[in-house]
């Protein structure tokens, strides 16, 4: 994210200022220094909670929060990570990670498959009632999640699907995430229609056009969809809380909460250590794919 904010230094780039004529090289440099200093200060403020979290994961429980304001502790140890890795109530932490990973990857695969196909239909096929269905899909975006919790729960409860991953994943495979469908529709509308017309003249059907023309061109949209659906699923708390009963099936966000019990003693140290561990996959996922996000924003189809 911070890389996007870095200004270009190439000599040809024109700095946006009031009076470009009287701008000397020295003034430009001073401006650049001020800009970077301000950016660094802001970054430090934004990153401080993360730094606090990492520092606290190495502190004994009694030194976290409360009166202890210093970032570093003299009692540096890995004990919290050891406790965190021991698991909770007979379920190993690795199991929680595996569960989270299954759910997140399932969400990514499901969303990519279903949302891209639906988006193709909305963007390229002129079927009767298209705008009505499109409007209905957008309307589901406006429906707060909390409104549908109970009816959905009753449906899954009566189908006997509670305490399985089906309620959490089935929506992803049926393009229920209207946001992603919308995102892809908008992206596809930006692709020149001449491309699929050319393919049709060559005798390609919808399947072929979708698979050979659209999908490869949609890479940036597919990647941003994957990133978002991975992160949302990884961080989802309410869904798993409602639908999963057996601790063996819990993903990480549920497990994290088990370290903090206001009615008994809370192990903040272990919880923070586990938060650090839980953040790593998301961070890695983001670091690997972030350049595609930038690409996705900047290319927008074939323009330019």
């Amino acid at each position: 994210m911070t890389t996007m904010a870095t200004p270009t230094h190439s000599a040809g780039a024109k700095a946006p200022d009031y009076n470009p004529k009287s701008e000397s090289a020295g003034a430009k440099r001073a401006k650049s220094i001020i800009f970077h200093a301000a950016a660094l200060v802001l970054t430090a403020i934004v990153l401080y909670p993360g730094l606090w979290m990492i520092a606290s994961s190495f502190k004994p429980n009694a030194e976290i929060g409360g009166q202890n304001t210093s970032l570093w502790s003299n009692n540096f140890s890995f004990d919290n990570f050891v406790t965190a890795m021991e698991g909770i109530g007979g379920v190993s932490t690795l199991q929680f990670f595996t569960n989270s990973l299954i759910l997140a990857l399932g969400a990514v695969v499901g969303t990519i498959l279903s949302a891209s196909v639906s988006a193709y239909a909305f963007a390229r096929i002129n079927f009767p009632g298209r705008s009505l269905f499109f409007g209905m899909m957008i309307a589901t975006l406006l429906l707060p999640f909390h409104v549908v919790i109970i009816p959905q729960y009753i449906v899954f409860q009566q189908l006997g699907l509670v305490d399985t991953y089906v309620p959490l994943l089935i929506g992803k495979f049926l393009a229920a995430d209207a946001f992603f469908v919308f995102l892809m529709v908008q992206f596809m509308r930006g692709l020149p229609a001449e491309l699929d017309e050319a393919a049709r003249i060559d005798g390609a059907g919808h399947a072929r056009i979708f698979g050979s023309i659209m999908l490869p061109l949609m890479k940036p949209a597919l990647i941003s969809t994957s990133i978002f659906s991975f992160i949302w699923s990884w961080n989802d708390f309410l869904g798993p809380l409602l639908y999963l009963n057996t601790p063996d099936k819990y993903p990480l966000p549920l497990a994290l909460r088990l370290f903090v019990d206001q009615t008994q003693s809370s192990d903040y140290g272990a919880m923070i250590a586990m938060s650090v561990l839980a953040l790593l996959p998301v961070l890695l996922f983001f670091l690997i794919f972030q350049r595609y996000i930038v690409e996705g924003v900047s290319t927008q189809g074939l323009k330019g």
Partner: protein, 429 residues
């Protein structure tokens, strides 16, 4: 958190669907389905708590299954806050687990909406229970919850901190004036390094105890407020001269220290709260030893103290295995070996057979000894709190903290709380 209105809608939908379900089902026998050793029935049990409690509960369940080969128990757990969101959804979907660990403040809500089984219709032995305790699980003649364990209100203090300030340890027979003087002494002797305590007038249960000391009911049996504005003004004026001094920790400090308590963060010398917080305070503060003494009272014969169920066991009204559920509850609250497994993780065991079968040591012993020492002062536990009590308690705390910030006067605070309370009671009527 799920609020009352949300709950109403969830339950309304739930009841409708349950009615539809009941129409297709056929009536089962009164004891429900029973199992055999070859073909055991499985009941679901759910609780909240941390890793430690999960481990202890697993042991208790294993013991129960070995003693009752015809029943299997499927145990699940979540954290406290998530626990109630999940229950509200399940209640609406008609899928509450067979047996549940329960909190007093939710008992009336679910009990009145017929979500919980009347446990007086099944066989659970309550002979070993303190008679003053059982009414707290009963609503309008129906027993919805059996207490697993008790807690009582107390003043905590850290003897090492008092010794370092040269202050004598209190013996717990103090009036409010003596208690206030004690708090001020801590503040002045430590030169601001240590505060006397948090403002105890912001704690609802302490107010409730003060009312009991003055023979006033907090709530009438009709669910109305049993005290007047003047009572509340008198209460909030008790510490008026202490606010802003070293006797009471300022509200902004309290906020900075959250989620840890001021006492757990070693910012105050005392805390007024339930005696089962001991383990948490010890862990947070790193103190070697913490001691408990009774709350102040201006009438030393009436301390207003009572035992409150720190947790209850309840069963779902729709369970298909009433008999198995009852046997499991009976086992969890009465069996001496279960007491030995949990120690004071759930609070001090409520049943005498379970308490006597448990050896307490260290911290646990301090809590058990405290409850024993106040035995002669104990009166009947109050009825389960009114619906929406959680909101009332929270607004009591919030308004009292505004008082400490100096945003409100005592008169203004009283008016503000009464308005909120009366609106809420009207809504629930």
């Amino acid at each position: 958190m799920i609020n009352r209105r949300h709950f109403l809608t969830t339950v309304a939908v739930g009841t409708a669907s349950a009615a539809a379900l009941a129409a297709c089902g056929n009536g089962s026998s009164s004891s429900g389905q029973t199992g055999t050793a070859e073909k055991p029935v499985t009941i679901n049990y759910t609780w909240w708590g941390n890793d430690d409690r999960a481990e202890r509960t697993r042991k208790a369940i294993a013991l129960f299954e070995s003693k009752n080969p015809d029943i299997k128990v499927n145990g699940n757990f979540t954290d406290f806050a998530g626990y109630w969101q999940k229950r509200a959804t399940e209640a609406a979907g008609g899928g509450l687990p067979d047996v549940m660990q329960w909190d007093l403040s939710y008992l009336r809500d679910y009990g009145q909406r017929n979500q919980l089984l009347d446990l007086s219709t099944v066989k659970i032995n309550t002979e070993a229970f303190e008679k003053s305790l059982l009414p707290s699980g009963q609503i309008k003649g129906k027993t919805y919850g059996i207490p697993t364990s008790t807690n009582a209100f107390a003043v905590y203090y850290d003897p090492a901190k008092l010794a370092s300030l040269g202050i004598a340890e209190p013996d717990g027979s103090w009036s409010y004036k003596e208690f206030n003087d004690f708090l001020s002494q801590v503040g002045s002797k430590s030169n601001g390094a240590l505060y006397g305590g948090t403002d105890y007038t912001g704690v609802w249960w302490m107010f409730n105890i003060w009312l009991r000391q003055n023979n006033i009911q907090a709530f009438t049996p009709e669910g109305k407020l049993g005290f007047s504005k003047d009572d509340l003004k008198k209460w909030w004026n008790l510490t008026a001269s202490l606010r802003g001094t070293g006797a009471i920790i300022p509200e902004d400090r309290v906020t900075q220290l959250a989620p840890k308590s001021p006492f757990g963060s070693n910012a105050t010398a005392t805390e007024v709260t339930w005696d089962n917080f001991m383990a948490g305070y010890l862990g947070d503060s790193g103190a070697k030893e913490l001691k408990l003494v009774p709350v102040p009272s201006d009438n030393q014969d009436n301390l207003g103290l009572f035992l409150k169920p720190s947790m209850l066991m309840v069963a779902s009204a729709k369970t298909k295995f009433k008999d198995a559920a009852a046997r499991f509850i009976d086992f969890m609250v009465n069996d001496p070996e279960v007491g030995q497994i949990f120690k004071t993780s759930r609070g001090v065991p409520a049943s005498k057979t379970q308490r006597d079968g448990t050896t307490f040591d260290g911290t646990d012993k301090a809590v058990v000894d405290y409850e024993k020492s106040i035995e002669k002062y104990l009166k009947d536990a109050p009825e389960p709190p009114i619906v929406g009590f959680g909101t009332l308690e929270a607004s009591f705390k919030r308004i009292a903290s505004d008082l400490n910030y100096g945003k409100l006067t005592v008169d203004g605070a009283t008016d503000a709380w009464f308005k909120e309370a009366e609106d809420l009671i009207k809504q629930n009527a």
